[in-house]
Amino acid sequence: MPVTQTENGPAWHLRTPRARLALWAGWFALVALTVWCWQIMTKDTIWLFVMDAPQQAADIGSRMFPPRLSYIEKLLWPLWDTLNIATLGTMLGVIIATPVAFLAARNTTPSLLVARPIALFIIVASRSINSLIWALLLVSILGPGLLAGIIAIALRSIGFVGKLLYEAIEETDASQTEAIEATGASGGQVLIYGYWPQIAPAFWGISVFRWDINIRESAVLGLVGAGGLGLQLQASLNVLAWPQVTTILLVILATVVFSEWVSAKVRHAII
């Protein structure tokens, strides 16, 4: 009861005493946890280096400018590779994610006890692991190159596309699929006539959205050897060629802005 009886009559409070206590305890625990984590995290930090950071920043900053714009010429081919990694990786990921989504959606899964948990695990595993880690693994397995990058992007995309797509499938209108089923259609036909038309806009929207994210991610995959602009970034960093680093960052930035613009346009056209 937020209203309590006191000597001066009833008094109004926002929360009950117990809720207030729980709230304070919660905040206190959060602060204590943060302080504790902070102490563990910084126990090996060399504060001298941290104090030194502004000078380092100024130093690097002065080296980074002006960018070496003539270097752009050498970036065109890696840029093309980056676009291909993102595009082909997205396509591969979407192709794998679609059946996984149908297995994971409550209303289309063949079995709630076997197929659905497996599909959900695939989705969460793919989502938990960043494309750079997938690339690290694949470069170690397949050797450096575009193929590792494409597969890394695909593996990371499965979870993202799969999750959003299965949510879209679960939101479909059951009466439309029921009507298709009532005509004597087979399971596959119910999918393409009942479910697909309902999820198609979501499907294209999600794919383009993921492609946009993948452009950003594929730009840095080269840091671990998976091709594209990141390779040049790594090479320039290794020789401390800061003006080239600046140029590469500008190219990445331009690519990201471009892909965001394309994705916004396409999604606008679909919806």
Binding site: L30, L33, T34, C37, W38, I40, M41, T42, D44, T45, I46, F49, V50, A53, Q56, A57, I60, W80, D81, L83, N84, T87, L88, V124, A125, R127, S128, I129, N130, L132, I133, L136, L137, S140, I141, L142, G143, G145, L146, L147, I150, R216, E217, A219, V220, L223, V224, L233, L237, L249, I252, L253, V256, V257
Partner: protein, 270 residues
Amino acid sequence: MSATAKTYPRRWRRPATMIPDPRWRYGIYAAILIYLVLAISTVDVNWARVWDGLDRGGRFVMGFLTPDFTSRWKDISNGMVESLTMTVTATVAGVLISVPIGIGAARNIAPMPVYYACRGLIALSRSLQEIIIAILLVAMFGFGPFAGFLTLTFATIGFLAKLLAEDIEDIDETQAEAIRATGASWWQLVNYAVQPQVMPRLIGLTLYRFDINFRESAVIGIVGAGGIGATLNTAIDRYEYDSAGAILLIIIAVVMFAEYSSSYIRKWVQ
């Protein structure tokens, strides 16, 4: 029956709704096809290397199925502690900083100069990938989790402040109007009209960002910013796929745990 004399077409084709003009349609199909051929042809694959790799791939899958937690446990636990502490502190610091910046970046309550400054900061934070920020910050602050903490904090600001600002811009104006009509000051307006409307979503977004920060903390270790990523990088470099599998499984488990508890907390908050 009146329709006996009538004849009906025996063919029907679905009208093309997206691109009605067939020339454009086939042009676009052709362009896509040409692009795909070009793109795939420039992926030069060293098949001999891939063939060798299949064996390693098989070992990785086996490592994933039979993970080895023990032989590198010290490294793994150190890396996990760094990752988790980094995630907690960076999320808290990120939220503390992004709340004022998010309010400043909301067009409907912030003055114009503040609005542009905050939006600029958000754009800067969002345009650079975490890994690039980490590279730069490691160069400035030295190796270790402190650089990682700064990276995640900076990335959190871009993410949270943007979404918070959009939320504030979307608030129900009538409620703000009603509070304003009582003669409330700007601070009271934020406290009474804005905060109650955006608070549940802010908590939800914070939990979501916590999840993202943890996943990112596993990556930035690759460039020296501390956390489990460094351990993972070493394990993969040494082809110790069973240790790598163990690390990946731990990451997956933590992400799953974070997701379940966040959905629980969200229900509890509302």
